[in-house]
Point group: C2
Chain length 384, copies 2
């Protein structure tokens, strides 16, 4: 076998062993050998390397029954850290995540809708430095920053093509933030970052095949296929908001007729509400719904119908194990959940109705930050 | 490195070398070494094994310019054969395909709509044996049969759950055909088989990411993601016919309102045509369309609108490199192509309009058979 093939194989084996220790710890060397099918000799050599690199430590545990002490392996959660950032219209969230995906530090800072791109970046830098200092985290162990934000993102070039919510256009966010902070930076759409977190420890844990649907100022979907983000040919997969759901329906600001977004997005709900009352914000609509104002109930009834239809269409096309619903609309008005479920009963195609599992994100507040931090590990950690 | 790891690696390397010779032949050993990154010694050893197993042969070629003769490698196309079968309502097609995916023999037999399951299977067996005999193909080189048919197929267990077109239900097709023919049998939905062929040598050649849309008695989609068929969690991915496109629209026989199939499928077109005229078949509708009968033009106009909307929705969700349109409707009435394209101009979401590539299957007559035969190679060929 060739030298370079052997090196690649060695690296793959090392990654495999580390993954197993990370996911099944505490675990004995014998058990690792059994799971991987590698020899005890190979395992001992690899573990010793991982130990000297700081990834793995030994723990001692009394085995039940026999009373003989067995040496078990665990990963060192503090071997490295990654920083996750969520930038939204009115808030910036920053989290520092350790090697096993636990939040070691957390901070959220208000953002002013009117503040400039540079101001926001400076806030991120300052917040991050405050956090590192406050929690006395060693700088050299931080391998990079991941940022999740709303909008159309060219993740490969670290470019924000356009973010209506943040009013940014053609911003070289990854480069600019790297210059400011000194860290490597990756960026992506917030839903894509969030689905990484859902796949790691949320409702899509270890799922090969899951769809995260976000409903709020827009409606979009992030998709996990074969355990990875599915992006499509030009990173536009999951643009459910512009699927046509009624060809004789509402005009969409994209120029088409009957896009799903025109029935579900906050902007569409507010625009229709204004026909009845001088409504300024989605919160006022939700308040009217809670007061049982019939116009608000009618509008939200239509919204839940279209949400159920959207879930049905996603199910027909992607046939995922699980659909995770998230976003401001569901979080601010959780009463909608029951409605959506009742309508799913009606609108899901019979032959696959049983396979449908609609759940709600349990990571809502920290999901984007956690996913962004985890994605830094996935993208930037190279185990020699 | 462990023994079993080495064996696996050896097998992978052998497959890699064979793939490269298959795809880039004629090719020199030096070139194979360069492409794979393996050493000339390894390549010589692997090629020698492949040679003795009958997969690879040497050819001689004069290199241009220098005049020195170089030994090049090619695969032996007759090292093995696979049989592809398409069973449709009124026709059975059988093809024998060689190792490089060329059709070595071809036969089509009429099928009677009223004929029984057993009669159809006997026709397949007889047709296959006639073909083998006529072309004097060696039995021992045939590694199996692949069957593509319309309906809901449990490909893993070789079971036809239901095929409305063939009027089959709960048929253990793979087992029954194996008993009859003596060959191993795999089965799958016809569109899934066809997309394999499109991916191999058709309009989605080498595409990582393609969708084949079939429009005829039903409407469905088969999806290639990362170079493989994407099935979803319960093999229902691509059920575009039951996505809702108009919640206040037509009642579908599935019990929902506004499914895409109710605007596009032959049955739907015929049912609506009957409101005007005593129409019995789709051919009569198409004839009326060609005679410019206004009712037929109106109905088909609605059909092309919904086809374009369906393509738009597929594009938004899957964002494929290419969408291939196929099926009876397009084949029998190719005049629709222009209409569909004009409507796509209107209905495709602006930001991804440029990425859309709608093409038409060029394999229509042999696509399912070829794909089924290729899938036998993919599934049953194990290179020791």
């Amino acid at each position: 076998m060739e030298k370079q093939d052997q090196l690649l194989m060695k690296k793959q084996n090392k990654n495999l062993v580390l993954d197993i220790i990370k996911n099944k710890s505490p675990i004995s060397r014998t058990e690792v050998a059994k799971v991987t099918g590698m020899s005890p000799t190979s395992i001992t050599r690899i573990v010793s390397e991982l130990h000297s690199q700081g990834f793995v430590r030994e723990t001692e545990l009394v085995t039940s029954g026999v009373g003989r002490k067995a040496t078990l392996l665990d990963v060192c959660r503090d071997v490295l850290y990654t920083i996750g950032v969520e930038i939204d219209k009115l808030i910036i969230k920053i989290g520092i995540v350790d090697y096993v995906g636990e939040m070691a530090a957390w901070l959220s800072i208000p953002r002013d809708e009117a503040e400039s791109y540079d101001e926001t970046l400076m806030k991120v830098n300052r917040g991050m430095r405050d956090l590192i200092e406050k929690h006395q985290l060693p700088f050299e162990k931080i391998i990079g920053i991941g940022v999740g934000l709303p909008g159309s993102i060219d993740y490969m070039n670290g470019l924000v093509k356009v973010s209506d919510q943040l009013k940014w256009k053609h911003a070289r966010l990854a480069d600019d933030l790297k210059r400011l902070t000194g860290f490597d930076v990756i960026i992506d759409n917030e839903l894509k970052m969030k689905v990484i977190a859902e796949n790691f420890k949320g409702m899509a844990r270890d799922s090969q095949n899951a769809v995260l649907v976000g409903i709020g100022s827009g409606i979009g979907a992030a998709i996990i296929l074969n355990g990875e983000i599915y992006r499509g040919d030009s990173n536009n997969a999951g643009e459910i908001g512009h699927t046509v759901i009624d060809p004789t329906g509402n005009v969409c600001n994209c120029g088409k007729i009957g896009c799903l977004a025109t029935y579900i997005s906050e902007g569409a709900i507010i625009a229709d509400s204004k026909k009845i009352k001088n409504i300024q914000s989605i919160d006022e609509v939700f308040a009217a719904y809670r007061k049982r104002d019939s116009w608000a109930i009618n509008i939200m009834d239509r919204t839940t119908t279209y949400i159920a239809l959207a879930l049905s269409n996603i199910l027909c096309l992607y046939n995922p194990e699980v659909i995770i619903l998230s976003g401001d609309t569901i979080e601010k008005l959780p009463e909608l959940k029951g409605e959506i479920e009742r309508k799913c009963e009606l609108y899901i195609w019979e032959p696959i109705k049983d396979t449908l599992k609609v759940v709600y994100s349990g990571l809502s507040n920290q999901g984007v930050v956690l996913g962004a931090a985890l994605q830094v590990q996935n993208s930037l950690l190279d185990l020699d």
